[in-house]
Amino acid sequence: MSKILGIDLGTTNSAMAIVEGGMPKILESSEGGRTTPSMVAFSKSGERLIGVLAKRQAVTNPRNTIFSVKRLIGRKFSDVEVQKDKALLPYEIKESTNGGVDVKINEKWYRPEEISAMILGKLKADTEARLGEKVEEAIITVPAYFDDSQRQATKAAGEIAGFKVKRILNEPTAAALAYGLNKKKNEQIVVYDFGGGTFDVSVLEIGDDTIEVRSTDGDTHLGGDDIDQRIINYIASEFKKESGIDVTKDVLALQRLKEAAEKAKHELSSSLETEINIPFITSTEAGPAHLQMKLSRAKLEDLVRDFLDKSFEITKRAVDAAKFKISDIDEVILVGGQTRMPAIVEGIKKVFGKDPNLSINPDEVVALGAAAQGGILQGDVKDILLLDVTPLSLGIETLGGVMTKIIEKNTTVPVSRSQIFSTAGDNQTSVEVHVLQGEREMAQDNKTLGKFFLDGIPPAPRGMPQVEVAFDIDANGILSVKAVEKKTNKEQSIRIEASSTLSKEDIEKMKKDAELHAEEDRKKRELIDARNHADALVYTAEKSVADAGDKVEQSIKDDVKAKIENLKKAKDSDKIADIETAQKELSQALSKIGEALYKQQPAPTESSEPQAETKESKKDETKDNIKDTEHKDINE
């Protein structure tokens, strides 16, 4: 089944998304952008340029570069809106034979839907190149206030581009879908959309299985671009006050100023103050001039306060028009990059008395929602294959009473996972497998699902035997745990049917507990890890001293023995730093044994020493990976 492309066909920028693995995902354009400028141009040589390429030549080819065609699509030439825009657009438009609008490029007239179709065609081609398959169906979004003629024209644009248009979807509805709000019943939602060039507010009501647009309002000539312009004007005028130079006359200086202003705006969304630095912005007879100034968030908010206040007023008006009270509104969704501005988030909070939804990228939320709608349309057939996830992590208890997770929470089942463990003591012949469920770091804080022993492990030094512990959850949620000793293939297993009988409340409580205790658990875990490492080092050190025998001077051996005692003492304390220091000292002392042993060997090649060291450290690493399964009865 081919995928349905979700398209946010915007006034200034467009975006596209598809559902992959059940989740909507933005697709990048062929130039690597997550959005594509809604622009079409014809170069002098007649070459058609779409998207960012059209934008890059817009300044010098204004009459043949078409932007904001969404303001014209499906409208009558005599519309007030069209007449107003006519004065602002640098390209030529005229009344078409049927009373609509025609747009002129390179002496040829086009209908707005043909221009939109070129943009959609590029999105289609980019998608197909990225996915490596044909995409023939699309869902295209339009503003909620679009009338039938504008919707029909948008649909026609999709069809000219070669799409089968499955649905024309309202932009605010798409945003609500992206947040999954369609699953809530009887809620009232406000969608506040501050785009690049337009501002729209919609009030939605979610019924039993419909989303109804109760009212729309907005300002078709208010957007993020106006805010950018204010910042540019402010910086330029401040600079003029200071230096007497008007940078707006110098194209390159103005270009650098624009970039700096945009950067400053973005930075002020996360910090309270930013520095604008443009060295050598221009030069006069007196020499080069540098622009350097600070801009605070408060100043920026001051500069654009009237825009923001206006948007909040319009928002309240829309709620009124929907015949709701402010307190009736259950959710507010923010759309458009400009809504990252903290003053907007704060303002909305003040109007509605609640935090707006802003977890999904506001530039992408509409396209994601359109793709989600596509997923819903396609989903009807696939619903029989509903896969569950494990609500909590599953694992076993290991050395020091630690819970080692084998299957992490939220893993989709059916699933099998395994890990190799080893023994904690020399000649340990049996291990206990203690199966646990939960999110806490320490075994005792989690729920015990079952326990069993695997015995008959051939006697060997600690860390040598390999015991593979495998967890398997089938589609019905039944957990089987199996332990196999790799050398003898001796195995033992347990089947736990109750792993999924926890109630929702229990699961939530366990998750909450884990969050609540995360910090103290982490500290406990670190201490135990440090102790385990120390323990392993003491073991190695004692063995080295024993192995070294007479080959190493007594003084070196005594030193190591003293350091071993130190580490043993430190190990019992609660101070990780002490353990680490003692560990370091022991490692250093221990290396002297190695050195002494080397000196006695018949002159090895020069490179062999570091090589041996690397080998040694590698061995240590693998040892760390093999977690010691604790067995209290036999260990120590």
Binding site: G21, Q57, T60, V251, Q255, F280, P288, L385
Partner: protein, 167 residues
């Protein structure tokens, strides 16, 4: 008589049962095919996803430094401006040192010298200059700000002044 009827009835019952089983079998057959197809599709989806993921990870690794490198370009611009204002050998060396680091990370300069044909794939025109020479139409008259590529993608287009033929 009775016996015969009985037999016939049994036979019919058997036929009936047989028919029912056959129908059920058909349903199961169909379900089996559906499940198998679904399973195969899921498996294929997964394999494809893994491949895509791998590709995307490579791509991601390549472009992970994109934002940092982009921000560095403004420093390069300033160095260029300093050189234009007679910055001297020292500044030149700093620029080379800086460029070398960027090159190692996959950044290359876009050619936008005077006389190169304006190409919006790599250049952005922010000004134009009227020319009476028809041959200069659509060619770059001046490079105002250098552009850079990161591997095969444009990191920032060159800002240029383009020639426009006017009779």
């Amino acid at each position: 008589m009775d016996e015969e009827v009985e037999i016939i009835n049994e036979d019919e019952g058997f036929k009936e049962k047989f028919k029912k089983i056959k129908e059920e079998l058909k349903i199961y057959q169909k379900e089996k095919e559906e499940y198998l197809a679904g399973w195969q599709r899921a498996k294929a989806d997964f394999i494809n996803y893994k491949k895509d993921e791998e590709k995307q990870r490579e791509e991601f690794a390549k472009f992970v430094a994109k934002n940092v490198l982009y921000d560095c370009l403004s420093v390069l611009d300033s160095i260029d401006m300093a050189l234009k204002h007679g910055g001297g050998q020292g500044i030149k060396e700093i620029k080379n040192q800086f460029l070398e680091i960027l090159r190692k990370n996959g950044v290359s300069e876009i050619n936008s010298e005077k006389g190169v044909k304006f190409n919006p794939d790599e250049h952005e025109s922010i000004a134009e200059e009227n020319t009476e020479n028809e041959n200069l139409d659509g060619l770059i008259v001046e490079e105002l700000q250098k552009g850079y590529k990161l591997f095969n993608r444009v990191l920032r287009p060159s800002k240029i002044k383009v020639g426009t033929y006017k009779k």
